[in-house]
């Protein structure tokens, strides 16, 4: 039996080749910012995307790249619609994409959304005593250096070269590196 591919499958495959301009190892699909693809009765394609941050300056470039890639792929005149609900979270970055980030030199985000880089997963959250907006004391970050894999790393700043990254420093290999911020 032959499985008939849905028409949107080919569009998704094409979108998976559109790379994020600021994190060029991940496609916009891997990053989780493409939310839906719709094809209406007349064949008009609409792609819904959601921004990573409200002020992400790459959104216009991403829209342009999506329109262009799909035009080349045989879908001219695609409409790109911006959606805000539900709000983007780094939890939408899959396992494969997390590995690619680490190989590229960016530590992947802690799971569980925003709330600081104080710890890894739920455990860190409990240690911080939780939902304190301004924690009294931060637990040591348990972020692995993407270069030497040491856990002896420190948070230099929660705000880095782009809205989505924090600046870390590895005490073992003495190398600054970026961390994809959990949000």
């Amino acid at each position: 039996m032959v499985t008939v591919a849905r028409p949107t499958d080919a569009i998704w495959a094409c979108l998976d080749r559109v790379m994020d301009p600021e994190v060029p190892v991940l496609s916009v699909v891997e990053l989780g910012i493409v939310r839906h693809v719709e094809v209406d009765d007349r064949g008009a394609v609409t792609v819904a995307v959601t921004p990573t941050y409200s002020g992400c300056p790459a959104m216009r470039v991403i829209e342009h790249d999506i329109v262009e890639a799909l035009a080349v792929g045989g879908w001219p005149g695609v409409q790109v619609r911006t959606v805000f609900t539900p709000a983007w979270t780094t939890d939408w970055i899959g396992e494969g994409a997390r590995r690619k980030l680490a190989e590229y030199g960016i530590a992947p985000p802690r799971r569980g959304g925003e709330g600081g880089e104080g710890g890894e997963g739920g455990e860190g959250r409990e240690e911080r005593g939780d939902e304190a907006l301004v924690p009294l004391r931060r637990s040591a970050p348990r972020v692995e250096c993407p270069y030497c894999h040491s856990s002896a790393t420190t948070l230099r700043s929660e705000f880095g070269s782009t809205a989505c990254k924090a600046v870390m420093y590895c005490e073992r290999c003495r190398q600054p590196f970026e961390l994809f911020k959990a949000i």
């Binding site: 300056p57 805000f84 609900t85 925003e114 907006l133 301004v134 929660e158």
Partner: protein
């Protein structure tokens, strides 16, 4: 034609509610645009590189939030303006931000203390707005809330570092807190615009926001070894367009390009 008024059509169709919502979105958007601009003035001037980048990042978040809020205001207004026209072509009298955000950036302590006082209020307000019955506003708020959590923590830690730091940093942080205190009350004022929208389930009721803000601010101020100001007199005026002289000067700089070359793009 009389269609049964479901909540959503009432939301979209009622002129009074629509007008109030445009005004409300302008207030939310203007607070962020003006404060974002003030923060961006630090770009290239902050005390250390990491902080320069952090302030620019927070400014970017605020200006991004302002873009979304003003765009929504323009769409609902339906007068052919867009978010850029609202940002670059309005006079100061038509800006409805609170006075606190337009004050000159001052020293680093002033910038940090102001950002803390604003961000904590914004956090609890956005928490409520994320539950708004207005779906687009709720979506923008939910997104902004995630960003604001990072802002509060960052500047909150700075307030503690400065207050509990050297004699000079303590003195500067205290002076900033004292100077800013009388501008904080305006963030919680509510008028007919708020009342209409709170009743419709669209806006955030600031009455429960204020005590949460006060508790969080008090906690950090105490940990920073600073003294909470006691003055009860509060300045107001920004929400109705009565501004300090500082806003006009800021706008003249922010708007000069669009004023000189209308419609310029690059």
């Amino acid at each position: 034609m009389t269609a049964p008024a479901t909540p959503s059509t009432a939301l979209a169709m009622d002129g009074a509610t629509g007008g109030a919502l445009v005004e409300y979105l302008l207030r939310l958007g203007d607070d962020r645009l003006v404060l974002g601009h003030r923060l961006s003035e630090w770009c290239g001037h902050a005390p250390i590189l990491e902080e320069d980048i952090a302030l620019a990042n927070i400014a970017l978040d605020l200006i991004g939030q302002a873009t979304l809020l003003l765009r929504l205001a323009a769409q609902i207004e339906g007068a052919g303006r867009d978010e850029n026209a609202l940002a670059y072509l309005r006079e100061s009298i038509d800006y409805h931000n609170v006075l606190m955000v337009e004050l000159p950036r001052g020293d680093f302590a002033f910038t940090v203390v102001r950002q803390f006082l604003f961000s904590v209020a914004a956090f609890y307000q956005l928490e409520a707005l994320a539950r708004s019955v207005h779906e687009e506003l709720a979506g923008i708020a939910a997104k902004a809330l995630k960003e604001t959590r990072y802002h509060v923590r960052h500047v909150g830690e700075w307030v503690i570092k400065l207050g509990d730091g050297t004699a000079e940093s303590h003195e500067r942080a205290q002076a900033a807190l004292d100077a800013l205190w009388r501008f904080t009350g305006e963030m919680f004022l509510m008028d007919a615009v708020d009342d209409t929208l709170v009743r419709a389930g669209i806006a955030a009721d600031m009455a429960p926001v204020e005590p949460k803000w006060h508790a969080q601010v008090t906690d950090v101020v105490r940990r920073a070894t600073l003294a909470l100001p006691e003055g009860a007199y509060m300045q107001r005026g920004g929400r109705v367009g009565r501004h300090t002289e500082h806003l006009g000067l800021m706008l003249s700089e922010m708007q000069i390009l669009q004023r000189s070359y209308p419609g310029a793009k690059w």
